[in-house]
C-alpha cells in the first residue's frame, strides 16, 4: 500500500507493507535512525516521536496509521541550525549518557513544554514515566527539562516550533 505523511516538515510518500510499524518506516525506509527501538511491548519509549504534536510510541503505531499526519522526530528538533532548548538542556544538565533513550525523552519533553511551559518536578516525572532510561537515574533528565523551561521563559521566542 501507499502512505503519505509529513515528516519533519517534508511530505513523504512510500510504498509499504500494511503491517509495517512506524518506527521501522522512520528508521529503515526514511533512514532517520535517531528514533530508536528498545522493546517488544510498548514499555520503553525509546521510539517516541510526535504525531500531530502528541508523543506516541512509534513501535505501537502502524506506518499506515500515520498517513496524512505530521510526524516529528529527533532530527526535526533542531531548526535552521538552532537547537531546541530541550536539546540544549540535555547537554547542559548531563541528561544523557548512552543517548539511546534520549531522542524519545526529548520529544516527550518538547510536547510537555508546549502544553505546560512551567511544569513541576512531578509533572516532568509523570510525563516521562512511560519511558525507561537505564543510565541517568532521571534526576538529570528532570533538570534538563527544567533548564529548557527556564530558557524558554527567559526568551519566549518559539525556538524550533511545530513542524
Amino acid at each position: 500500500m501507499q502512505v503519505t505523511m509529513t515528516v519533519n516538515g517534508e511530505e513523504v510518500t512510500k510504498e509499504i507493507e500494511g503491517r509495517l510499524l512506524l518506527v521501522h518506516f522512520i528508521r529503515d525506509h526514511l533512514g532517520l535512525t535517531g528514533t530508536h527501538w528498545g522493546c517488544d511491548t510498548s514499555n520503553c519509549g525509546t521510539c517516541v516521536v510526535l504525531m500531530d504534536d502528541e508523543p506516541v510510541k512509534s513501535c505501537t503505531v502502524l506506518a499506515a496509521m500515520a498517513g496524512g499526519r505530521q510526524v516529528r522526530t529527533v532530527e526535526g528538533l533542531e531548526v535552521d541550525g538552532v537547537l531546541d532548548p530541550v536539546q540544549e538542556g540535555f547537554m547542559q544538565c548531563h541528561g544523557l549518557q548512552c543517548g539511546f533513550c534520549t531522542p524519545g525523552m526529548m520529544l516527550t519533553a518538547r510536547a510537555l513544554l508546549d502544553d505546560n511551559p512551567d511544569p513541576t518536578e512531578h509533572e516532568i516525572r509523570e510525563a516521562i514515566s512511560g519511558q525507561i532510561c537505564r543510565c541517568t537515574g532521571y534526576s538529570t533528565i528532570v533538570r534538563s527539562v527544567q533548564w529548557a523551561a527556564n530558557a524558554e521563559s527567559e526568551s519566549p521566542v518559539t525556538v524550533g516550533g511545530a513542524s
Binding site: 514499555n43 548531563h94 549518557q97 539511546f100 518536578e121 532510561c133 543510565c135
Partner: protein
C-alpha cells in the same frame, strides 16, 4: 581559552571548559542529542540481509530432528542454518569467557529455554521473522533442573552430557580465607548471627539490545564486524581463535553503544551466526535481537544463594564473617571474570571492616537457565559480596540492638591501616571511611530522621532508614594475576600530537555512555595543559586503537585512565627535550607550567606545548638523538586494583495497607579518588542508584518449574521509571589511590554495588515493629506483605 572550531562550543559556559579536570560538557552529546549517533542497528550497508534466530521453547530437550524446508521455500529467505550445518564446519560450539564451551546452535539437545537452535537469513527483517515460524523442530523434553538446591542431587538429570565423563551438574568449587581461624573466632564470640540471603537472578537490560552487522569481503577475506561490544579487542582475538580467521583480517567496530552494564561483554551465538552467514552468503548480514531475546538469553547477573554468618563481641566488635554460597551458573559457564577468579572478586565479602578472620566456600552448579553470571555493573561479583556483608552487619545490629551506623563506624578499617590486607588477601590501596559515613549522615540529617521514625512508629507508620557502606575492588588488573582466556588485563593507549598542537588519543576501552571521549581528553588535557577540545578520542575500533581488554568492572579509568596519563607524560618528556633545544638550556633547567616549559627563574623564556609540537614536526635541527614527531604509545599494567568506597543512606516509607515501598530520599557519598569530571561522576552514581532501587524492589528473572522464563519482557521485568526513584542527593570525599598516576579509582559501578543493601536495609528497618530481621529481594508489595504476616518466602 578560545575554542573556535567547534560549532557547539557557543552553547558552553566558560566555567565548563576546564583545562584538565573539572565539570565539562560532554564531547559525545552534540551528535547524540541530534539523533546522529551511530548505533549498530543504524548501520545500513548495500545489499544487507537480516538474520533472525529460532529459539527453543523448552528448557531441556533432545533435538530429534529439524525440518527447514518450508522456511527455505519462503520467497524472501536466502538461507536457513541449523546446528548440524555448523557442526560440519566445526562451528557448532564456541568457548565462553570462563573456558567452558557454549553451543552456537544446539545440536544434541537444548539446555535452556530460548537457546539458539537455527537461524534464518532473509531479504528483510520481517521476512526473517516470518520464516522462523516455518521451521519445525522435533523435541523430546527432558526434566529440567531449575532448583539450584537440587542440582547436585544424585538423580538430577545431567545437563552437560556434552562434556566428557560428566555425570552430575557440578560446575566448580572455590574457597577463600582461613576456615580454622574463622572457626576459632566464631567459637569465642559472644554473638553469632546467621542468615540465609538470596541475591536473585537479575538482568542488565541496556536500552539497546545486542546485535551485529557482519560483512566479509569475498576477495580480501576481510571481516568487518559492527557489534555491541564492550571489549572489541578481546572479541576479535576470540573470533580469530574460534573461527580460525586470521586476526589481522578481522576488524571489530563497536560504534555508539546504548548502554552495556556488562551485558555486552560476552560473545553471543548471534554474533557468530552473523559472521558465519556473511561468510557463507557473501553479503553483509545484520542480527539485532529483540527485547525478549535480550532478557532470556544474554548475560544475566547474580543468582547466588548465600548463608551469611557473623561473629561479634557483645559490645559490637566484629570478629569474623563466614559464608557458604551456592552459585547458579546456568547451562554454560559464561562468567566473564579473570580466569583465576571463578567467583569474580566475591572475596571482598569482608567489606570495609577490620576483622580477625574470614572464610567462604562456594559450590557452583549448572542448571537449565541461560548462561552468563557476571553482568549488571557488578564489578565481578562485588555486588553480591557487598550485599551479603552489609545485610549481615545489619542483622547483627538488629541482634545487638545497636544503631547500624554506629556499629559500622566502630568496625571500620582505620586510615592508618592502609594499605590494608584483608583476611581474604585483598590489598585495599587507600581509604578513609568514617568521614564519608559522617558526611552522609550529616547530609541526610540522620539523628533527626531517627527522631521522626520514633514518632511515626508510635503512630503505627512504617518508615525505614537503611545504611550501606561499601568498598569496591576495580580496575582489573595486574597481569601477573589476571587474564581472560589467556589475555592479560593490561590496556594500551596511543597519543599522537599534530604539528599545530592538537592531538588524537586512541584507547583500547570503549564507552557505552560513560563519556570516555570527554574524560580521557580531560586526562591528557590535565597532563599537557591543552584544551580538551583540541584532543580527539578514538575508541571502539580494533583497526584504529591499541590492544586492550575493554570496558567493564569499572576498569576504564583505573587502567586506561592511567595509560592515558602516562602516555601524555611520555609525550611531555619528549617535549621537554625539544624545548631544551629551543630555549638552549639543559633539560634540568626547565620547569613545566601546565602547557609550557619555562626556564627556571626566567618567565620570559618559555615555549608552549603547541610551539614544541610544531618544532617536533618542523624544519631545523632537534636535539641530539631526538626523532621528529611528537607521539607515544604505552601498555599499562596496573600494579594493584583500586578500591573506591562510599556511604549510602536510604529512607523509605511503607504503606501499611498495601505494603508498597516508596523511596523517599537517598544520599550517596562516594569516594572514587581524584575526580576527573564531577558531572559525569554524578551521572554514573545516579544511574547505579536507580539500578539499586530496581533490584531491591522490582527486578527479577524468575523461572517456573518447567523452565519457563518469567521475566522475558518489560511487562514482567520491571525497571524503575522516573516515578519510582527520588531526586538523588550526592556528595563525595576524595582519597586518591596511591598507585594510580592521577589517583583516580573508578566510579562506574559503585552505586549499583552499594545501593541494593541500603534500600533493603531501609525496608527491613521499617519492618522492625514486625520483628523482621531479613527479607529477600525484590521487595515487591506482595513479598513485603507476606513478610509483615510472618510468611517471608525467598524468591528461589
Amino acid at each position: 581559552m578560545t575554542v573556535t572550531d567547534n560549532p557547539v562550543a557557543s552553547f558552553h559556559d566558560n566555567d565548563q571548559h576546564p583545562v584538565g579536570f573539572g565539570r565539562m560538557l560532554r564531547k559525545e552529546d552534540p551528535r547524540l542529542i541530534r539523533g546522529k549517533g551511530n548505533f549498530v542497528d543504524d548501520v545500513q550497508l548495500p545489499g544487507m540481509l537480516h538474520l533472525a534466530i529460532l529459539r527453543s521453547p523448552y528448557a531441556h530437550a533432545k533435538i530429534l530432528g529439524i525440518d527447514v524446508s518450508a522456511a527455505q521455500a519462503h520467497p524472501n529467505v536466502v538461507a536457513v542454518i541449523t546446528g548440524a550445518d555448523l557442526a560440519e564446519q566445526g562451528l557448532a560450539w564456541m568457548p565462553t569467557l570462563s573456558n567452558d564451551v557454549q553451543a552456537v546452535l544446539a545440536t544434541d539437545k537444548v539446555r535452556f529455554q530460548h537457546q539458539e537452535v537455527a537461524f534464518v537469513v532473509a531479504e528483510d527483517r520481517y521476512s526473517a521473522r516470518d520464516a522462523l515460524e516455518l521451521i519445525v523442530v522435533d523435541y523430546e523434553p527432558i526434566d529440567p533442573v531449575m532448583d539450584v538446591r537440587k542440582a547436585l542431587e544424585p538423580d538430577a538429570p545431567v545437563i552437560r552430557d556434552d562434556l566428557d565423563g560428566k555425570t552430575d551438574n557440578h560446575c566448580f568449587d572455590w574457597e577463600t580465607g582461613d576456615a580454622a581461624a574463622t572457626d576459632a573466632a566464631f567459637a569465642k564470640a559472644d554473638v553469632v548471627v546467621t542468615e540465609d540471603i538470596v541475591y536473585p537472578r537479575v538482568h542488565p537490560a541496556p536500552m539497546e539490545t545486542c546485535g551485529a552487522v557482519a560483512n566479509v569481503d569475498q576477495i580480501s577475506g576481510q571481516l568487518t564486524l559492527w557489534c555491541t561490544s564492550q571489549a572489541p579487542h578481546a572479541h576479535r582475538t576470540v573470533y580469530a581463535l574460534v573461527a580460525g580467521l586470521p586476526e589481522h583480517k578481522i576488524r571489530v567496530i563497536a560504534p555508539d553503544i546504548g548502554g552495556g552494564f556488562g551485558n555486552k561483554v560476552p560473545i553471543y551465538p548471534g554474533y557468530v551466526c552473523a559472521i558465519v552467514a556473511s561468510l557463507v552468503i557473501g553479503k553483509p548480514v545484520k542480527w539485532m535481537e529483540d527485547r525478549t531475546e535480550n532478557l532470556v538469553s544474554t548475560g544475566f547477573a547474580r543468582d547466588y544463594v548465600m548463608r551469611g554468618e557473623i561473629a561479634a563481641t557483645s559490645d559490637g566488635k566484629i570478629l569474623a564473617v563466614r559464608t557458604n554460597v551456592l552459585a547458579d551458573h546456568g547451562a554454560f559457564n559464561g562468567t566473564a571474570a579473570p580466569v583465576k577468579y571463578p567467583a569474580g572478586f566475591f572475596g571482598v565479602f569482608t567489606g570495609s571492616y577490620d576483622l580477625e578472620a574470614a572464610y567462604c566456600n562456594m559450590t557452583a552448579v549448572y542448571t537449565n537457565k541461560a548462561p552468563g553470571g557476571v553482568a549488571y555493573a557488578c564489578s565481578f561479583r562485588i555486588t553480591e559480596a557487598v550485599y551479603l556483608v552489609e545485610r549481615i552487619v545489619d542483622c547483627l545490629a538488629h541482634e545487638l540492638d545497636m544503631d547500624p551506623a554506629e556499629l559500622r563506624i566502630k568496625n571500620f578499617i582505620q586510615p592508618d591501616q592502609f594499605p590494608y590486607t584483608t583476611k581474604t588477601g585483598w590489598v585495599y590501596d587507600s581509604g578513609n571511611y568514617e568521614p564519608a559515613m559522617r558526611k552522609a549522615m550529616d547530609m541526610i540529617g540522620y539523628d533527626e530522621l531517627r527522631r521522626e521514625q520514633a514518632e511515626k512508629r508510635e503512630r503505627g507508620e512504617l518508615m525505614g532508614i537503611g545504611i550501606a557502606f561499601f568498598t569496591e575492588a576495580v580496575g582489573a588488573g595486574p597481569r601477573k594475576d589476571m587474564d581472560i582466556l589467556g589475555l592479560g588485563m593490561a590496556d594500551g593507549c596511543e597519543l599522537r600530537m599534530h604539528p599545530t598542537g592538537k592531538g588524537v588519543l586512541r584507547l583500547s576501552v570503549k564507552t557505552q555512555g560513560q563519556g570516555h571521549e570527554t574524560t580521557f581528553a580531560q586526562i591528557v588535557s590535565e597532563e599537557l595543559g591543552i584544551p580538551p577540545e583540541d584532543l580527539e578520542v578514538v575508541h571502539g575500533d580494533t583497526d584504529n586503537t591499541p590492544f586492550g581488554l575493554g570496558t567493564y568492572g569499572s576498569r576504564s579509568t583505573p587502567v586506561s585512565g592511567a595509560a592515558a596519563a602516562l602516555v601524555a607524560r611520555k609525550v611531555r618528556d619528549k617535549a621537554q627535550i625539544i624545548a631544551s633545544g629551543m630555549l638552549e638550556v639543559s633539560v634540568a633547567d626547565l620547569e613545566w607550567m601546565k602547557g609550557s616549559f619555562q626556564v627556571k627563574g626566567d618567565p620570559e623564556k618559555s615555549v608552549t606545548i603547541q610551539d614544541i609540537a610544531m618544532k617536533a614536526h618542523g624544519a631545523g635541527d632537534l636535539p641530539e638523538g631526538v626523532e621528529g614527531g611528537l607521539e607515544a604509545q604505552i601498555c599499562y599494567n596496573p600494579e594493584n586494583l583500586t578500591y573506591p568506597f562510599g556511604a549510602y543512606i536510604c529512607v523509605v516509607d511503607i504503606d501499611p495497607g498495601t505494603a508498597h515501598v516508596t523511596v523517599r530520599r537517598f544520599v550517596a557519598v562516594d569516594d572514587c579518588g581524584t575526580q576527573i569530571n564531577p558531572m559525569i561522576i554524578e551521572g554514573q552514581v545516579h544511574g547505579g542508584l536507580t539500578d539499586g532501587v530496581g533490584m531491591a524492589l522490582m527486578e527479577i528473572i524468575e523461572f517456573d518449574e518447567l523452565g519457563n522464563c518469567l521475566g522475558g519482557s518489560f511487562m514482567d521485568y520491571l525497571i524503575p521509571t522516573a516515578l519510582e526513584v527520588p531526586d538523588w542527593e550526592t556528595g563525595h570525599t576524595v582519597t586518591p589511590s596511591p598507585h594510580h598516576p592521577i589517583g583516580a579509582k573508578g566510579i562506574g559501578e559503585s552505586a549499583t554495588v552499594g545501593s541494593p543493601p541500603a534500600v533493603v536495609n531501609a525496608v527491613i528497618d521499617a519492618l522492625k515493629p514486625f520483628g523482621v530481621r531479613h527479607a529477600d529481594m525484590p521487595l515487591t508489595p506482595s513479598r513485603v506483605w507476606e513478610t509483615m504476616q510472618g510468611n517471608h518466602t525467598p524468591p528461589i
